[in-house]
């Protein structure tokens, strides 16, 4: 697991290198937009916390409105 994690991290760093080298701020912000929530999810996964997906939340909302099978 650690080996695969390190491989993923290395590829990600390789991907980040041209972004930082060419100072592509927009690319960096977009990358962080996905990495930060990803890290939060990873933390939750490590703690064993399962979060309700938005589909389940909307489904419950629709059910309360009577829109359900």
């Amino acid at each position: 697991m650690i080996v695969i994690g390190v491989i993923y991290l290395l590829i990600m760093i390789m991907d980040f290198y041209p972004i930082i080298k060419h100072k592509k701020v927009k690319h960096l912000i977009i990358n962080l937009m996905f990495i930060i929530p990803g890290l939060i999810f990873l933390f939750l996964a490590a703690k064993g916390i399962i979060v309700k997906s938005w589909i389940t939340i909307i489904w419950e909302f629709l059910k309360s409105l009577g829109i359900s099978y």
Partner: protein, 368 residues
């Protein structure tokens, strides 16, 4: 302007559509415990109802020849409202990618690698698909033809091998369920897998085909895909009978019943391998579409630099947000069809209607 500059042929596009639907054949559990042994009938009705949507997608592609769905939305609704709607589409694409990753890892874990941690399987899946996505659309779809033939061969082979346990009587009686069940079954199938073909609206600008070919390839792809889906459901019901609705993966159980001789049994590994190939293909397409959507929303010229970070998000979200296939099935049966169909069928229809009423076309079409 399209972000991905590579072009694929119309035939590759068609084979990709077939592959995409064949990958969903495993998901027949969505309807199996709703319409039971009549599910084969529901597949037929669902596809007949879906046919106008295929032509609607074709019309939208032809009207905006060099634009993908996100670009069409932004052109029609303007940069602000268009981007807000695009974000909703992005959440939708992220969700279906996430669900398919969960399905793939679940089936791999239950059938082949029971002791491997879930996170490793998800990580491997993301690494392979990210590699494919970074290579571009041409590489992504190049083997679609081979996958289609391989999957069709396995389906036909399984029917031949299961011939001794097939009971035609299992397919009957028909029309014995309440009307609501048929409506629910058709609604689910129109959302998953047929409605998911909306993702091909993001690939269409990169396909070399004329107006006639657009309809031809889209329709042929959807029809052949639907036919193999129908064959899979028909095989599973005729083999499993009343127990069809009891399993999370009915096809897997049907394959386990194959006994060629006393020595050659348990050949479900064949099915699992082809299923993994098809699901990897489907996830790659969904992942690619998600990345293209992000690039389009933020007006990026290249998409390759964001592939891995989107993958990282998908990986962690798949672990935390969608726990397992059972939860996926429950969401797909009850909540998702209402939300999905809005984005897959109703909204593209509104786009087409507005473009027809106000005569909005892509600049290329207007200059003709």
């Amino acid at each position: 302007m399209t972000i991905a500059e590579t072009k694929i042929s119309g035939r590759q596009f068609m084979y990709s559509i077939i592959c995409f639907i064949q990958a969903s054949a495993i998901l027949n559990a969505f309807i199996s415990n709703i319409t039971y042994q009549e599910s084969w009938l529901v597949v037929i009705f669902a596809f007949i109802i879906f046919i106008p949507s295929v032509f609607m997608y074709g019309a939208l592609i032809n009207r905006f020849k060099d634009k993908n769905l996100i670009q069409i939305v932004i052109q029609i609704f303007g940069p602000i409202l268009g981007r807000i709607i695009s974000v909703i589409y992005l959440i939708f694409f992220l969700s279906i990618t996430m669900f398919n990753i969960t399905d793939l890892t679940d089936i791999t874990k239950t059938s082949m690698l029971p002791t491997t941690p879930y996170i490793i399987l998800v990580m491997m899946c993301i690494l392979i698909t990210a590699w494919a996505v970074r290579s571009g659309l041409r590489v992504l779809t190049i083997y679609s033809k081979m996958y289609v033939f391989l999957a069709s061969f396995i389906i036909i082979l399984s029917i031949i091998f299961l011939f001794n346990v097939i009971e035609i009587g299992n397919l009957f009686p028909i029309f014995s369920l309440p009307l609501k069940k048929y409506v629910q079954g058709i609604h689910i199938l129109n959302a998953i897998p047929f409605g998911e073909l909306v993702v091909f609206l993001l690939i269409a600008p990169n396909v070399q085909m004329n107006k006639k070919q657009t309809y031809k390839y889209f329709f042929l792809g959807a029809s052949i895909g639907a036919f193999s889906f129908f064959l899979t459901v028909l095989r599973d019901i005729s083999v499993l009978g009343e127990t069809f609705g009891m399993f999370v993966f009915p096809s897997l159980v049907a394959f386990r019943l194959i006994r060629i001789t006393e020595a050659i049994t348990r050949i479900e590994i064949l099915f699992i391998v082809i299923l993994i190939i098809l699901l990897i293909f489907k996830i790659s397409i969904l992942y690619y579409v998600t990345v293209i959507t992000v690039s389009q929303i933020f007006n990026l010229k290249k998409y390759k630099n964001i592939v891995l970070s989107v993958g990282f998000f998908l990986m962690t979200a798949a672990i935390v947000l969608s726990a397992n296939s059972i939860q996926h099935t429950l969401a797909a049966q009850n909540g998702a069809p209402f939300i999905w169909v809005t984005l897959q069928i109703i909204f593209p229809f509104i786009l087409l209607l507005i473009s027809l009423i106000f005569n909005i076309k892509s600049p290329k079409e207007e200059s003709k």
